[in-house]
Structure formats: structure tokens, C-alpha cells
């Protein structure tokens, strides 16, 4: 344990006590650091922290870990339940295991790396930030993704990028079925650099040139009402 890292054993404490501890450490300055042991797959750990804090969690976490945070850096040595890093404003979350459904829902900024797999609805309604998944993502991932970047090292379940806006998806594996108005686009040099940098930051060893880009076909919200056939197909 390094100097200045405040450790807390979750066993025998309420979730409120654990989060209060984290918030109190967060006020100690820009180098604030905390470590949690025995998280025991609890829900709602490290939520609502809006001052700089570096957190290491040694074990598995439940739902909404690191949700509603701004400017924190979290590293989790285990699996996560649903809603990992939900609504992250800025900062980073690194998950060494796999995440459940709705991981990175409505993320607005910052960087999330999931080294294993993610469940259904990964990156649903993202509004910014970068999410990198080393493995597979589940059904309806990036559903209604408005902005931001989702990078998928493995495969995606059906409905990938359904109703996408300006979000960008990069996928190395196969998408079981594309979502409504999600289309493949040319990878540019800038795309390759973006993917390479994100993979490196996420600690995921994959060749950027194996990724394909998926973006919005822009037919769902830009169409001519007179072109009824397009209306029917897009919807």
C-alpha cells in the first residue's frame, strides 16, 4: 500500500459508511487516494463523488459502481454488475473483469475500459467520453448513442447502435445484427489513431486495423416526408 492511500475494509460497514469514507478522502486534495477491500459485490459503491479521488477496489462490485461521478479515477479488480460508471462526467474507470447490463449508460465524458465482456445495452444513450470493451458486448449496445466513442474488441449482440446519433462505434468482431439506421463507414487515418490510443490506454492488446467503424446513416432524423418508402424502411 503506497503512501497516502487510505484503505477501508467494507466488511461490516454499510454502503453509506463506505461512500461517506470515500467522499471524506476526496476532500483531502488533488492527490487523494483510497482503496476498498472486501466489496462483496455490493451495489452503489463509489457513487456521487465529484471531487478528484483515485480509488482502487479489490474484488467484485454490484450495480452502479462509480455512477454519477465527476473527476475520479477508479480501478476495479473484479467483475461489476449493472450500470458501471453510469453518467460519468470526467475521469476514468478501469474494470479488469466483466460488466453486466447498461455498463457506461449515459456517460458524458471521461474514459472507461472494460477488459472482459459487457452485457446488454453497453453505452446506451452515451453523450460523450470513450468506452473500450476488450471482449464482447450484449444486445442493443450503443442504443440511441448521441455522442462519444464505443470501441468493441469482440462481438456485439443484435441491435448494435440502434438509433445512433453522432456517436461512433468501432468493432473488431462481428455484430450479430445492426440496429436501426446503424451503418458501416470507412475507417480513416484519424479513426485508426483514435482506436490505437484508446486501446493502449485501456491496456487491451488488439490490432487497430482489424476494427470497422459504425455510425449513423442519419436517415431516422433526416428524411423527406415525401419519400414514404425511405420512411418505412428506416422505421
Amino acid at each position: 500500500m503506497g503512501e497516502g492511500i487510505k484503505s477501508f475494509d467494507c466488511a461490516g460497514h454499510t454502503t453509506r459508511e463506505i461512500n461517506s469514507f470515500l467522499k471524506s478522502v476526496a476532500t483531502s486534495g488533488p492527490e487523494a487516494a483510497a482503496a476498498l477491500v472486501h466489496p462483496d459485490s455490493r451495489h452503489n459503491l463509489a457513487v456521487g463523488i465529484t471531487q478528484p479521488l483515485s480509488i482502487t477496489i479489490d474484488g467484485n462490485v454490484g450495480y452502479y459502481c462509480a455512477g454519477l461521478c465527476d473527476g475520479i479515477d477508479v480501478e476495479i479488480n473484479g467483475d461489476a454488475g449493472w450500470g458501471l460508471a453510469e453518467n460519468l462526467m470526467s475521469g476514468s474507470v478501469i474494470l479488469h473483469g466483466s460488466a453486466g447490463s447498461a455498463a457506461c449508460a449515459t456517460v458524458r465524458g471521461g474514459f472507461v475500459a472494460i477488459q472482459g465482456d459487457a452485457g446488454a445495452r453497453c453505452g446506451i444513450a452515451m453523450k460523450g467520453g470513450t468506452v473500450v470493451v476488450g471482449g464482447n458486448v450484449g444486445t442493443m449496445s450503443a442504443f440511441m448513442m448521441q455522442k462519444g466513442v464505443l470501441i468493441i474488441g469482440g462481438d456485439a449482440g443484435p441491435g448494435l447502435g440502434d438509433s445512433l446519433y453522432e456517436g461512433k462505434i468501432y468493432i473488431a468482431g462481428t455484430a450479430e445484427a445492426m440496429g436501426s439506421d446503424a451503418v458501416e463507414a470507412e475507417m480513416t487515418e484519424d479513426d485508426l489513431i483514435l482506436v490505437a490510443e484508446a486501446l493502449a490506454k485501456a491496456g487491451i492488446d488488439k490490432d487497430p486495423s482489424t476494427f470497422r467503424k459504425i455510425q449513423s446513416g442519419k436517415k431516422l432524423y433526416n428524411f423527406n416526408t415525401k419519400e414514404k418508402e425511405i420512411w418505412k424502411t428506416a422505421l
Partner: protein, 304 residues
Amino acid sequence: MCGIAGVINLNGSDPSYPVGASLMTLAACLQHRGTDSAGIAVFGPHPGKAGMQSLEVIIPERLPEPRIVYDLGQGMLSDLDIVPEGFKAAVKLGDGDPVKEIIALVSRIETGLPGSVVTSYGEFMSVRKVVGEAVGLSDAVSDWTGTHGIAHLRLATESKIDPAHAQPFWGRPYPDIAVTHNGHITNYYKMRKRFEARGFTLASHNDSEIIGLYLGEKMAEGYTLKESLEAARTDLDGSFSFIVATAKGLGVTRDPIATKPLLYCEKDGLVVLASEQQGLRHLMGETVTVKEIKPLEVRVWEKE
């Protein structure tokens, strides 16, 4: 919201796995998902009773005199025994259609003993359901052993709170089938009407109850458990993650939108399922590999 759990010991034919205690561990970890009711169904051979069917009844009033129960049984019941909040009895079928006989027997009991509900019927199955939290089950079920079982924590959404409306539901009238369900079957009333028109009855107005009846009927028609679940995932409308337990094992499926969770792990011949991961790790270790049943996936684990 509801929490569901299941466990099966696939190692040999050992009937002494602590199914009850394992399910109680899972239930404690899932308790926050529903505090309205809790229930457990455990499957295992009953010593000295191979090949014999028995049924279990919950009765909120004083227990009736045995003579009254035997009269209602019309010769089908014997070996009456007291269980918490009710009784159990051995069942002997006549020569008629077993489905019709069981439907009629259950009807006679539930009409003849107002407020009672038959919660279990089969050779291997035992069911205990209570209003309130899972701790209310522990005295009864903590030392139940067997081969497999399922559990339920209820957060009531559309029907009333009493033991009859709690899960797991016996798939009446079929023997040795019970279901624990998280979700909402939206074509319940349509299905219920069709089943009732053909003479089937249900214990409650809880939509979850239709699942066991649907699966039981499919298997009575010759479908395997796997085929029954493949049919169920298309025929059932609404949200569902459920575990069905039969004499031989467990089966699961999830609806395609998959908003109701179902995780599992397999290790050393044990398969454990639950809505959330904490209980899996309490039973099988912090580092066990936990996977999620995929939307529309059908999995079956059966003993030989």
C-alpha cells in the same frame, strides 16, 4: 422486482446436498429484491417413499380433522402428516386421466377447506412459501437436502400478497414441476382463459403461475424440457427470467429484451443460478467465473 435463485448438484445420485441451506444463503443475498414473500422448492428422493406421490397444503385456519381431509380425498389420500401451517398427504391416483384426477382432487380440497391452497404435488418436490422475508423460511427448510431446488423473493406488483400468491409456483396439475420467475407475463389473461376453457385451474391471479402450467403441459405432450422452454420463449409475452425445476433438473430462459437479470456459475458439478452475483460468490467463492444467461438462451441441467 423479485429475486430468483436455483441450485443443482449434478454429482452422481447423491441426494444429500444441502439444497435448503444453499438456497437460504442465496435468498439472504437477494432479499433486497423483494420483501413481500419468500419461497423455496426442493427436489430429492423421500426415504422409504420411492414411487409415491404426495401433496402439500397450506391452510391459514386451524388444521381440519383428518377425517374431513380423507373424505375430501375420496380415497386418494393417506398418511396425513402435519407440516408448518398446513399438512401433507400421500396421493394414490385412480384409473382415470391423472390430469383430471389431480385437478378434481385439488378443487375438492380448496373448496372443502376455504382459504387453503395446494402448493406442491409430486414424488420429489417439497414447497414452502411464506409472507414476509426469507428468514421466515429458515426453520423449516435450512436442513432440507436433495438434488436441486429453486427459491424466490417477491416484490408484489399486480396481485395480492399471501402464501397462495407467493412463488415458487407448482405447475398444477403436473407432478414435480415448479417455477420461480422475475418479470411480468403480459399475455397471462389470454393464456389463462384458454387453459381454463380446457378444464385447468390456477391457485392464484399471479401471472407467474401460468409458466409452470404451460411447461408442464408441453412436457405431458412429449416435448423435452429444452423444447418446452424453446416454445415458451416465443409463446410467453412480457419480461421474464425464470428457472423451472422438474424431477430431473433445472431449466432457464430469458425474454429478448432481457431487463430481468439471471447469472450463473458452474463448478465441481454444482450449478448455481441467481438474479445477482453476490450469492453466487458467497456459495462458490469470490473468484468463481460468473456468466449471464443470454437473451432467448435456453439452458437445461438434468441428472441422468
